[in-house]
């Protein structure tokens, strides 16, 4: 059993501290927003979660490309770990967006480009996991994961674009408010601080979780190998 590397322990600590500070900034330091009230505070973590979702996707796609080019199994691990984290944070993004939308626009869902794109992205992530689960051979599993991560990643901007065109050509007001007014509040310097700090914190959280997940995968593979050695009588 390998002890946790010192770097990871340090990262855990740093991330923990950052998170506490971020909470303080978001909940207390940032001023109450004039129009929306306290619920606006959801916005900081909502956007940060969305950022991590996008980051996770980029990392997964890039890992996919490198894996296909080099065949180095480690890149596949990074891709898988990144997608798993992406699933969680995109879900946080969608749900927090919904929580924010309800009191502000009196609707649980708006058909605006960002929300729809986030949902589609989540579906692609889940499809990625389901694809991998259906393949037995580990090499093929990694290759297919890489290919789908790349294809999925390329489709997301096009999805965003298509919904945007949809809104500009056919401005449809769904629900009792105008969803194109999303995010229209000016950020005071204090809000900006809280916002940027949240982005930073969540990026650290992503990195920490990624490292943990990679370690988990390596240990899991080691267990698999021991199992095979025991049953097959060794190489």
């Amino acid at each position: 059993m390998d002890p946790m590397p010192k770097g990871l322990k340090a990262l855990n600590a740093v991330t923990g501290v950052l998170f506490v500070v971020a909470l303080y900034l978001v909940l207390f330091y940032a001023p109450r927003e004039a129009v929306m009230g306290e619920v606006q505070r959801v916005f900081y973590f909502h956007v940060a979660a969305g950022w991590v979702g996008a980051l996770a996707f980029i990392v997964a796609a890039v890992s996919g490309v490198v894996y296909l080019a080099r065949g180095d199994h480690r890149w596949d691990r990074v891709g898988l770990a990144s997608v798993e984290i992406g699933i969680a944070f995109t879900l946080i993004n969608i749900i927090s967006g919904s929580i924010w939308a309800r009191p502000v626009w009196n609707t649980w869902w708006t058909w605006d480009p960002r929300l729809v794109t986030a949902t589609v992205m989540e579906l692609i992530y889940i499809a990625y996991v389901m694809l991998r689960q259906g393949i037995e051979d580990p090499d093929r599993r990694a290759r297919f994961g890489a290919v789908y991560a790349i294809v999925g990643f390329l489709s997301v901007p096009l999805t965003f674009l298509s919904i945007r065109i949809f809104r500009t050509i056919h401005p449809v007001v769904i629900g009792s408010s105008d969803p194109t007014a999303q995010g229209t509040f000016d950020m005071t310097p204090k809000m900006l601080t809280a916002f940027m700090f949240s982005l930073l914190t969540f990026t650290f959280i992503y990195a920490t979780l990624l490292w943990h997940r990679l370690r988990l995968e390596v240990l899991s593979e080691r267990v698999e190998r021991r199992k095979i050695d025991l049953t097959a009588g060794g190489l």
């Binding site: 051979d137 580990p138 090499d139 593979e221 698999e224 190998r225 095979i228 097959a232 190489l235």
Partner: protein, 232 residues
């Protein structure tokens, strides 16, 4: 013609081939025997360029795999135990299709010639799913020799054939080998292998456990030699 050095193949973490050394001179006919799970099909698939080696060196006709796979495929003919034929097409349509993929010159004449060789000229316009298993295997061999390859790989070609069909297949195999081609055939059939081949190798637990040139081989002793090799 075929050189394999320290070939290792793992599926994920599971090792199937554990360092195979294998050499075949031009014109040799090597029968590869071994129990199920020994890795015969995996080995043949690697030679056929359908699967990549995890470690080790594989060369066919001087071309290295997997880097020069495209060149290898040109000189390779493969018959697996699945016929690789399209049931909804006729015999000659199947051959014509593969002939086009392999860019075989003077295709029509060649198709006719091959159909003659495998004894299917009379049934050329019948749909392949109407063929018996034996006929499908013979057509599959026809497909494999269409582009006149120097090397032929057979993966347990007698599977599912009755006595008569097996004997007919042997005839075709001898014809194929007589043209000076290099042949590697995996099989479960000890006696048949000893008759057809110039050399018998035994693959067990992912390595070549034994190798017997036909000259030094008493066909009757093969079963016990085999048992000894796989126990090893």
């Amino acid at each position: 013609m075929i050189e394999v050095r320290r070939l290792v193949k793992t599926f994920g973490l599971k090792p199937v081939l554990r360092g195979v050394d294998f050499d075949v001179e031009p014109g040799e006919f090597v029968a590869l025997l071994g129990p199920n799970g020994a890795g015969k099909t995996t080995f043949l698939r690697i030679l056929a360029s359908l699967s990549r080696p995890t470690l080790g060196d594989v060369r066919l006709a001087g071309f290295r795999l997997p880097g020069q796979a495209a060149s290898v495929r040109r000189v390779l003919g493969v018959v697996s135990h699945q016929p690789l034929l399209y049931g909804d097409l006729t015999g000659e349509e199947n051959l014509r299709f593969y002939g086009r993929l392999y860019d075989v010159p003077q295709l029509e004449a060649r198709v006719a010639q091959v159909l003659e060789m495998v004894g299917l000229a009379a049934r050329r316009r019948d749909l392949v799913h109407q063929y018996s298993r034996g006929m499908q295997q013979r057509l599959a061999i026809g497909r494999a020799v269409l582009h006149d390859p120097e090397i032929m790989l057979f993966d347990e070609p007698h599977t599912g054939l009755d006595q008569e069909a097996s004997l007919m297949l042997d005839g075709v195999l001898r014809q194929v080998a007589a043209r000076g081609r290099t042949v590697v055939m995996t099989s479960h059939d000890l006696l048949r292998s000893a008759e057809l081949a110039t050399r018998v190798d035994i693959l067990s637990r992912g390595v070549i456990a034994a190798s017997y040139p036909r000259a030094s081989l008493e066909p009757a002793s093969l079963p016990s030699l085999y048992r000894e090799a796989i126990r090893g």
